[in-house]
């Protein structure tokens, strides 16, 4: 693992991109890393484009700016692909993970020739199967962990079990569904380009 991994999340207000970035920070923290998890606050409205960030490192992190040259980008909502320059500054040896059902050609066209690795996942299908509702953040969390290799699948699953117990202390019925969403996501991540 690199000394400093930088991740940028693109989502829409209400989809849980901020929560996902905080959960990722939590999970990485629990494996002994130094972490940052922070959203870019704007005029928050349901459905408006939002950005959130993670830094993960083996060493203390001192930099306190937004992330302009991320190693990884997560797109929680594929309708953002045509409005937001999601690959801006994204490193060529990095990767992007998109929640989408679009085919490879269409994705490549929307990413305007991004040369790094492209992954897709159908977070809606996974979420609806596991939770009965559309919460894309849990599958996207699993997807970015898998792509970035921040921790192993087992570490993620063990750790998130604890986090969900804490987070959903008042609605334990959703813990199992969220765990299932993580497992399904880890299995169904698909590489778009070779």
């Amino acid at each position: 693992m690199d000394n400093l991994i930088e991740i940028r999340w693109h989502g829409r207000g209400g989809q849980g991109a901020k929560t996902a970035s905080l959960l990722l920070a939590d999970a990485a923290f629990n494996t002994g890393k130094y972490i940052q998890g922070f959203p870019e606050y704007g005029p928050e409205r349901m459905g408006a484009p939002i950005t959130a960030y993670n830094r993960i490192s083996d060493k203390p992190i001192t930099i306190h700016s937004n992330i302009y040259e991320p190693n990884y980008v997560v797109v929680v909502d594929d309708t953002l692909l045509k409005d937001v320059d999601v690959t801006a500054g994204l490193k060529k040896d990095g990767a992007i993970v998109i929640n989408t059902t679009k085919n490879a050609e269409e994705i490549k066209r929307l990413l305007k020739g991004y040369e790094g690795e492209i992954y897709k996942i159908d977070a809606r299908k996974i979420s609806e199967e596991a939770l009965g509702r559309y919460f894309p953040n849990t599958p996207m969390l699993a997807a970015i962990v898998k792509v970035s290799g921040i921790m192993t699948d087992e570490e993620l699953l063990n750790d998130m079990k604890g986090s969900f117990k804490h987070k959903f202390a008042k609605k334990p019925e959703v813990i199992e569904g969220n765990m299932k969403a993580l497992e399904l996501a880890l299995k169904s991540l698909e590489k778009v380009n070779s």
Partner: protein, 393 residues
């Protein structure tokens, strides 16, 4: 053993307040400090603290309530930001002139207008002459540590002044980061009990607090207040030394980061110091002798110590996250340059006003300042000492 945790700056401040367990907290919510009283009120409801929480109807009342509580003999705290602090303004001066060691968490945000909820230091700079001790914090850890040290400084018999702990709104207040917490019992022991000599609820020694004070005495009282601020310097260092024994974390008036052998240096406060450290490290790898002076104690201003720390630098940039709109330079710049002049240190110094209204300060921005400094160090020429950093043209 300290406790390894991950918390936002606001959570860190609220946890510090929980461990301090003050007698009274009075607050009115305002972005981005809202979470501090919000978390704290949960601690009150859960019985984690014995504090009387006063949900007041304005920040003016929040400060008035903490003044009342401290005058009565209690330990009182509050938190606010930007326009909340503006609304407290009248009471801010009363708190310090009555020598009441209130501790406030100030989560820095731009003062309106037009309305902006993001970070700069215009709120703090507005009260820089109000007689409050002002500590600045690079990250959640320092926001926490500064609060743990706050009462020991403020309540010292030779000081007796209110104290505010600043941190950057959103940038650190809403960023989850690693932190080392101190065990509850250690904090309790370190902070100690508040036993004021004189207070309103002491029936054996009735006193008046804050009556009329005209030509005959106000001047003398102000001079005493100023003396308290001078005395705070020694106390700040003593408390820091004791804190270091407990935690291993070293604090002083400022942090000198690779400054010893530096040829060019930046002076700044709060989170930008962290980004600057990142840039200093990368410049050092290229053999450029860059350094940083991160100011922690802005009031009292350690003028002599700063002058000594910067005397060997060939070119210095002072970064102000608030514009004084005086056609001359930012507040920190003026304090640093006057410290240098009075102490007879002749070093070229430039001022950059930056980050206004939450404009993000990138590593590239900081790097461009060091590049300017290299040029100034070479030529000794400064064409415009009062500049902008990150302004769109």
């Amino acid at each position: 053993m300290s406790i390894r945790e991950r918390l936002s700056g606001n959570e860190a401040a609220a946890i510090a307040m929980k461990q301090i367990n003050p007698d009274v907290v009075a607050a009115f919510p305002i972005t981005p400090s809202t979470e501090i009283p919000q978390y704290f009120s949960t601690f009150v409801s859960n019985g984690d603290v014995d504090t009387e929480f006063v949900a007041v109807e304005s920040e003016h009342s929040a400060m008035a309530a903490t003044i009342g509580a401290e005058a009565a003999g209690g330990r009182a705290m509050t938190a606010t930001s930007a326009n909340g602090l503006s609304l407290m303004w009248e009471m801010i001066y009363i708190a310090s002139s009555l020598r009441l060691p209130i501790v406030m968490s100030l989560v820095n945000r731009a003062v309106s207008g037009p309305l902006n909820i993001h970070n700069d230091h215009s709120d703090a700079m507005g009260v820089r002459d109000s007689g409050w001790i002002m500590l600045f914090s690079e990250n959640n850890q320092e926001a926490y540590d500064n609060l743990i040290m706050a009462h020991r400084i403020a309540e010292n018999k030779n000081v007796k002044l209110p104290l505010m702990v600043c941190q950057d709104g959103f940038i650190t207040s809403h960023s989850i980061e690693n932190i080392e917490l101190i065990e509850d019992d250690k904090v309790k022991k370190f902070v100690g009990e508040y036993k004021p000599d004189e207070y309103l609820l002491n029936k054996d020694n009735p006193i008046a607090i804050g009556p009329l004070d005209l030509q005959a005495y106000l001047f003398e009282h102000k001079a005493q207040q100023a003396l308290g601020m001078k005395n705070a310097k020694k106390v700040i260092l003593e408390v820091a030394e004791e804190f270091e024994k407990m935690t291993g974390r070293k604090y002083s008036f400022f942090e000198e980061y690779k400054l010893d052998d530096a040829e060019i240096a930046i002076v700044c406060m709060n989170s930008t110091a962290g980004t600057t450290k990142f840039v200093v490290d990368s410049l050092r790898e290229k053999g450029i002798k860059a350094g940083l002076l991160k100011l922690r104690v802005f009031r009292p201003f350690p003028a002599e110590e700063i002058a000594k720390a910067l005397e060997h630098i060939k070119a210095v940039a002072v970064l102000d996250k608030a514009d004084s709109l005086n056609a001359a330079g930012g507040a920190l710049f003026e304090d640093v340059t006057s410290a240098m002049y009075v102490n007879k240190k002749q070093v070229p110094i430039v001022n950059y006003v930056y980050g206004i209204g939450g404009r993000d300060t990138k590593a590239d921005d900081i790097e461009s300042v060091y590049k300017d400094l290299q040029e100034i160090a070479k030529t000794g020429r400064i064409t415009e000492p009062y500049r902008y950093l990150g302004l769109r043209r």
